[in-house]
Subunit: 415 residues, 2 copies
């Protein structure tokens, strides 16, 4: 039997599977499980009929490029479409700044490889998106967390974190954040702070990685398009790398997202994308492009906003009615997530075992904190389950939380 | 204007775009250009009608998973299909050894990240696939080339390269090679050498990365399926990471390939794939699975072998008739490539400018050599151009080569 440990790179030796993720995967297989765990869009609102029609037109063989190798940076008409979308968000770009990525996760990974050396410090929010945490850690970088307030990242804590890291001799090249309906908190960064962040980045000479998968899905009862204006829209110095995606608005199975970066950064991202997968999926890009060009994406956005807003409302009302005196949360003004905080002594990691017993799951908040805190928090995603499931799921969760609060824990189940 | 150099990782600072690639991209835009450069399959033989029918059935919305997030390792039925394909090639696998990758290029990149630290030595063939060269270099590894003979890699030179690297204190964890109809040489590794390589890997305590995109496309006039038996088929010690793909047999635009690795290695590859793109494209995986399950892939292979064999034959006959006394090449027994060697004083890099003037392009061989040699070699791909274009392209190439030989060079054109 060959021993493989001595074949692994340092990064591979350090990389660890998430126990929570594994448990989630197993739990999903339990019949009747209600899952508030994954941040999946709801296939009930995918444009199936339109995709079907478009695919039928594309797969005639008249245009070989639909299934051929193509440019690393993506299908040119789709790049132009993304530039139009960016323009509608206030962002002016050149073609040389653009890349279509194989999902935004790839964009995040590429940013990590292009910007970070082992030992560098990357600033992220407390809590932050786990996919970015893992991708950045895989480059050997150290992640340092910055607190959030109701209106987004705490600028004083940001300054402190930067100063501390630099005083310790560490290289700090960037801040990663999700300003619109953050994963996992659902928080919306205030417009004022967006401006202050740009000034801070200039002063501190760092780049900002602005990850914006949810911005188009604001809820009209509490937010407007203007509230989601990207930081990148006012980026006069070229300090922002902006990422967005079709995964939440059209469908994630296509694996098509895009990014806009200063030209020298985009050129490096291109080189790493070449060696990473040569190109984004061709058929997917063609379908997405057609869905955009025919107005299917834009036309459906009001319906999608309303659809997810209603689910948010149902979850919020149920939580308020049943758990309003035990947990707190910031109202989600868009996106897919509700972020709940239990009293300080609770452990949502341990509670998850009992939740599975009750056939309901969530993501324990600790996974999102790079500083080891957050034990009493959890992320509930309302995007995928139906309203009926949300009602029933919150009912089950209520039993679990009340048990936890009362300290009447049964023995943990075997997983 | 922000200066970006100080934001880049060491790997990004080192990464360089390929001048040849850029020139190729520009040259393709010239009308009437005949390109022997890219190793693209021919869309004329894609199963358009079948793909269209399958896509129509998949996109009804009955099965949400067709466009949803899914497992990092891939769509389970497709993994099982790949295991069946592997079994037909003599390779027995467990599900835990398998990953669907977003094209084989991703598999290569993941291998690099999991196995190599900066400064490690990776052994590759002289010449070797440029996509692997770049991916491995992006990990900071040093590539050391091993000569090839008519029956594949030179085992004595392999031993010398390993000994030299280790004597210099370098870590050597693996040999990367393409045993079947190698890119770029088209060479077929002999069955005897495959056995000897396994023994060598065991003795040397290294892993073998066996990249096999072309194995199913052997030419029946000169090779059999038995000649392409993977090294992995006889890998008793778990030393081989095997990669294969649907890109050359079904279509590259789908970005669906697969790999089989020892379980501990597969687990690490999984972790890096998670942070790299979460999952392979979902619709693409479903289409490929159906194409396999309905017998479309297997049923078309004899036609594909014949189709590419005929193109090979046309190219070879034309070359023999027109350039037979000036260039030499090993007969391609499968795959997409013919590898030509000119007399020692020629430079195919310089000659490329004149080739573009004559509206024909190829890839200059130097790009495939990690030791800076190969100036008088070139790769001709016969897979994409029609037979008529091959005839005309060789005619143009003949003029270029004869000019080069005669030393009657015009001034280089401006590009």
């Amino acid at each position: 039997m060959t021993d493989y440990e001595h074949f692994f790179s340092r990064a591979a030796l350090k990389s660890q599977g998430s126990a929570i993720r594994k448990m989630g995967v197993m739990a999903v297989r339990v019949p009747d499980m209600i899952s508030f765990a994954p941040g999946y869009p709801d296939p009930a609102v995918y444009a199936w009929e339109e995709f079907r029609e478009i695919a039928g037109e594309l797969l005639t063989g008249r245009d070989g490029s639909v299934l051929q190798y193509g440019p690393t940076r993506g299908h040119k008409p789709l790049i132009e479409a993304c530039q139009e979308i960016l323009a509608s968000r206030g962002i002016t770009t050149t073609a040389e700044q653009m890349l279509i990525s194989t999902g935004s996760q790839q964009g995040i990974d590429l940013v990590g490889r292009v910007l970070f050396d082992p030992g560098d410090v990357v600033l992220v929010e407390l809590p932050a998106y786990t996919g970015a945490i893992s991708a950045f850690r895989n480059t050997g970088a150290t992640l340092v967390g910055v607190r959030q307030q109701a209106d987004g990242i705490d600028l004083e804590d940001l300054d402190r974190a930067l100063t501390r890291a630099r005083a310790a001799g560490r290289t700090v090249r960037c801040l990663y954040l999700v300003p619109n309906f953050q994963n996992p908190t659902g928080l919306l960064l205030s417009l004022e702070k967006r401006q202050l962040l740009l000034a801070w980045a200039s002063r501190a000479d760092v780049l900002i990685v602005e990850d914006d998968p949810y911005g188009a899905l604001y809820f009209e009862d509490t937010a407007t398009a203007a509230d989601t204006r990207p930081i990148k829209a006012d980026d006069d110095e070229g300090r922002v790398i902006y990422l967005s995606s079709f995964s939440k608005t059209l469908a994630p199975g296509f694996r098509v997202a895009w990014m806009a970066a200063p030209e020298p950064v985009a050129a490096k991202l291109d080189l790493f994308k070449q060696t990473q997968d040569l190109m984004p999926p061709a058929l997917d890009q063609h379908i997405i492009y057609q869905a955009y060009r025919r107005g299917i994406l834009t036309g459906r956005l009001p319906m999608l906003r309303k659809f997810y807003q209603e689910k948010r409302t149902v979850m919020q009302e149920q939580l308020r009615a049943q758990l309003g005196d035990l947990i707190t949360w910031p109202e989600p003004k868009g996106g897919f997530f509700l972020w709940a905080t239990l009293p300080a002594h609770c452990s949502t990691d341990e509670m998850l075992l009992r939740a599975i017993e009750q056939h309901v799951i969530y993501v324990a908040g600790s996974a999102f904190f790079v500083d080891g805190t957050g034990a009493n928090t959890l992320r509930l995603s309302f995007s995928l389950p139906s309203k009926e499931k949300i009602v029933e799921g919150v009912r089950r969760l209520t039993r679990v939380v009340k048990e936890e609060m009362a300290g009447r824990h049964k023995a943990p189940v075997e997983i």
